[in-house]
């Protein structure tokens, strides 16, 4: 197996997210739990990164750091050149609103709103006028292939459709990063494939995707893979250099 050469990989690429030696310690009573124990990683514009690791590995904590949802105990996180530690609550909200799009395993759509209302919600937070939000929301729904279902509520949609609405919502304010937390974890195989294709298409259109997943089909469309275990990055590979087989990857995960 070839090892990952960061210097060569970084050539001609622009750093979008820079994580430098971050640690995050939670306290379980008197006993400290190091969810992240010195993680350093550069994520480049236009990349499609898959993050893997068993539950409890610190994967989620890493996601929260990159997404500006949590701040590290020590170390620094830069998103698009902005030091996250310097931001107050409202500035963080601003950043989350415009720079980062979130896709959740549970979709997290507002069940009381239609697809279009869900998609335009982040635009409302960004202060976009309702007419423009409507036009942009419709365009986004077209882009994920749900233009005709704009007036449906989540209850009337399948899981795959809900996740596509969620992806359209995450793209509402043209974010630099799309942060997906196991986007296919709750979907059947076919819907999962639709989501892979969609994320791949978006990635080729220039969206940076960071994705936590165990799904081999999803790994296949990524550009780079990162393994996290016990709060550390244990392995980084360029997808091009790895032969993906369901069994081999499964073994890696358990390690």
């Amino acid at each position: 197996m070839a090892t990952f050469d960061e210097a060569k990989y970084a050539e001609g690429r622009e750093v979008l997210v820079s994580v430098h030696d971050i640690r995050r310690t939670f306290w379980r009573g008197e006993e400290p739990v190091h969810a992240l124990d010195g993680v350093t990683l550069n994520i480049y514009r236009g990349e499609y990164i898959c993050v893997m690791g068993p539950s409890g590995s610190g994967k989620s904590t890493f996601f929260n750091m990159v997404g500006g949802l949590d701040s590290p105990t020590s170390g620094r996180v830069f998103i698009d050149g902005v030091d996250m530690a310097q931001l107050n609550a409202d500035e963080l909200a601003f950043l989350r609103c415009r720079k980062i799009g979130y896709v959740f395993q549970q979709f997290n759509l507002n069940t009381t709103m239609t697809a279009l209302q869900n998609v335009t919600l982040p635009m409302t937070f960004a202060g976009v006028s309702s007419d423009e939000a409507r036009a942009r929301g419709m365009a986004l729904l077209e882009r994920v292939g749900l233009g005709d279902r704009w007036n449906h509520r989540p209850k009337e949609m399948s899981g795959g459709q809900m996740q596509r609405v969620a992806i359209a919502r995450s793209l509402a304010n043209n974010p630099s990063i799309l942060l997906c937390d196991e986007p296919t974890g709750n979907l059947d195989l076919k819907s999962g494939k639709d989501i892979h294709r969609l994320l791949h298409k978006l990635n080729t259109e220039g969206v940076t995707v960071i994705c936590a997943t165990h799904d081999p089909n999803m790994l296949a469309v990524s550009t780079r893979m990162v393994w996290i275990s016990d709060g550390r990055i244990v392995r980084i590979e360029e997808t091009a250099n790895v032969t993906i087989e369901q069994n081999s990857l499964g073994a890696d995960e358990e390690a």
Binding site: R96, F104, Q105, N108, T112, L121, R169
Partner: protein, 484 residues
């Protein structure tokens, strides 16, 4: 993010969640309904009480008018009359006082104002616990009490300053009393002058009346006025009006009618209580024991009773007397029942201390209920809130959304509560007061109560949800990532 957009989002959410928060709504409804019920009830009692009071006063108008015209005033009654005239709406009485006594209107107005102060202090002494009154003014009451204070003011104010919880009423409290005491002797002498002039006119009126009564054969005025030819009584009225008294032809017409009814009733009861009649009644009705005139009055509709009285009274007269008696009895009962509502001028919003206490407790309970329901609704929507924050909602947006939601719930619950409280209190009062409620329906006051209760409902739920909303706004957005 503008308030308007928050509002739209909030409305959209509430529309779907209204049914889920039925519990919260129910709590608000009950609290507001209770508040509205208490307010409305006290408004109805007041309105009906005032109406009944006025009705009773008008039913006694003839007697009151006669007393005023023909009986000399005492110092106390003159003081009360002037004090009442000094209040808003008493302009006619002030004008009459000026006309009768010939004093300038400015003097009358000044006297009325001072009389108002005297009445205030006199009532204060009268309502004071007896022990304190004994210390402050011995056994004196009214003007005598004030005179005693004037004799030893230092001792009085020294004792008063010890009784810290005893408040002097009126403007400027104790200082106001001192100021009043300074002008008190002068006021008393002016008042005596006023009284003398007034009573001189009353004596003149009495003499004029006596002359007419003598000419009519020595009848009493209550018999003469309704019985005499109209021209004669009109001339009498004109004589009295010329003295300055307010006595219009309309007053005279009312007086004649009321006195006629009163005489009729008097004759009838006299007849009913006569020993001979009592025995005849027992025979006619086959009753073993005597019945009172009251009981007999109630049975005047009976054909046997009408037969017995047919020589002196027509059935119409009997009917009128019985109906009049029943109405007066009902009014007297109502007045008695409503005395409490009319007496409590000092109570807030017309509610008694006990009612206010109940209201406070019920509001507290409601606040706890609403706060609990809001907390529940927030835990229920943990993921939604966290997702919103992931999508870029600021803390203040979340806070305002939840506060707005609570206020909306308060509003809807308030509307229903107002209607409910209104319905309950109206039905209750309608059963208690009957037609009197509709006759004196305080529509304006009820509208005000409704506004008040509605505002209370909105405020209540907003207050109760401050903490839950705050908690929601401070929630960490990473909760959205959590997988259950």
């Amino acid at each position: 993010m503008s308030l308007g957009e928050t509002w739209t989002l909030c409305i959209r959410g509430v529309r779907h969640r209204l049914f889920r928060s039925v519990l919260t709504l129910a709590v608000v409804v009950l609290a507001v309904a209770f508040f509205m019920f208490l307010l409305c009830d006290s408004m109805y009692q007041r309105a009906v009480g005032k109406g009944v009071e006025a009705e009773i006063a008008s039913s006694r108008a003839a007697q009151l008018q006669l007393t005023r015209l023909l009986t000399p005033d005492t110092a106390a009654s003159a003081m009360r009359r002037l004090a009442a005239a000094g209040k808003p709406g008493g302009e006619a009485a002030l004008a009459e006082a000026a006309a009768v006594t010939g004093l300038p209107p400015a003097e009358i107005a000044s006297l009325a104002e001072l009389a108002g102060r005297e009445r205030l202090y006199a009532d204060w002494f009268a309502k004071m616990p007896v022990g304190r009154r004994l210390i402050l003014v011995k056994r004196d009451l009214g003007r005598d009490a004030l005179k005693r204070v004037l004799a030893e003011p230092d001792e009085f104010f020294r004792q008063l300053s010890i009784m810290v919880d005893l408040r002097v009423p009126g403007p400027k409290k104790a200082e106001g009393l001192r100021e009043f005491l300074a002008v008190f002797p002068d006021y008393v002498s002016r008042m005596d002058g006023f009284l003398a002039r007034w009573n001189a006119k009353v004596a003149e009126a009495g003499a004029l009346t006596q002359a007419r009564l003598a000419a009519a054969g020595g009848l009493s005025e209550t018999r003469w006025i309704p019985g005499a030819p109209e021209a004669e009584t009109e001339a009498w009225r004109a004589d009295l009006a010329a003295l300055g008294f307010s006595f219009t032809p309309a007053d005279l017409a009312t007086m004649r009618a009321q006195l006629r009814d009163a005489n009729e009733f008097e004759d009838l009861t006299e007849r009913l209580s006569g020993a001979a009649f009592r025995d005849a009644w027992k025979v006619k009705f086959r009753e073993a024991s005597d019945t009172t005139a009251e009981e007999k009055l109630a049975r005047l509709g009976d054909r046997r009773a009408q037969e017995m009285l047919a020589d002196d009274f027509t059935p119409e007269q009997l009917g009128r007397a019985a109906a009049g008696h029943a109405a007066r009895t009902r009014l007297a009962q109502l007045e008695h029942a409503l005395a409490a509502a009319l007496g409590g001028d000092s109570a807030l919003l017309g509610l008694s201390g006990r009612q206010l206490f109940l209201l406070g407790i019920s509001f507290l309970v409601c606040m706890v209920g609403i706060a609990n329901a809001m907390l529940m609704s927030i835990t229920e929507r943990y993921r939604e809130i966290a997702t919103m924050k992931c999508l870029g909602a600021t803390d203040s947006y979340i806070l305002s959304q939840f506060m707005m939601e609570a206020a909306l719930q308060g509003f809807f619950g308030g509307v229903v509560g107002v209607l409910l409280g209104f319905a309950i209190s109206t039905v209750r009062s309608a059963l208690a007061f009957g037609g009197h409620l509709w006759a004196y329906f305080p529509a304006g006051d009820v509208a005000l109560c409704a506004l008040f209760s509605l505002a209370a409902g909105v405020l209540l739920s907003a207050l109760a949800s401050i903490q839950p909303s705050w908690a929601a706004s401070r929630m960490a957005p990473m909760e959205a990532m959590r997988v259950e």
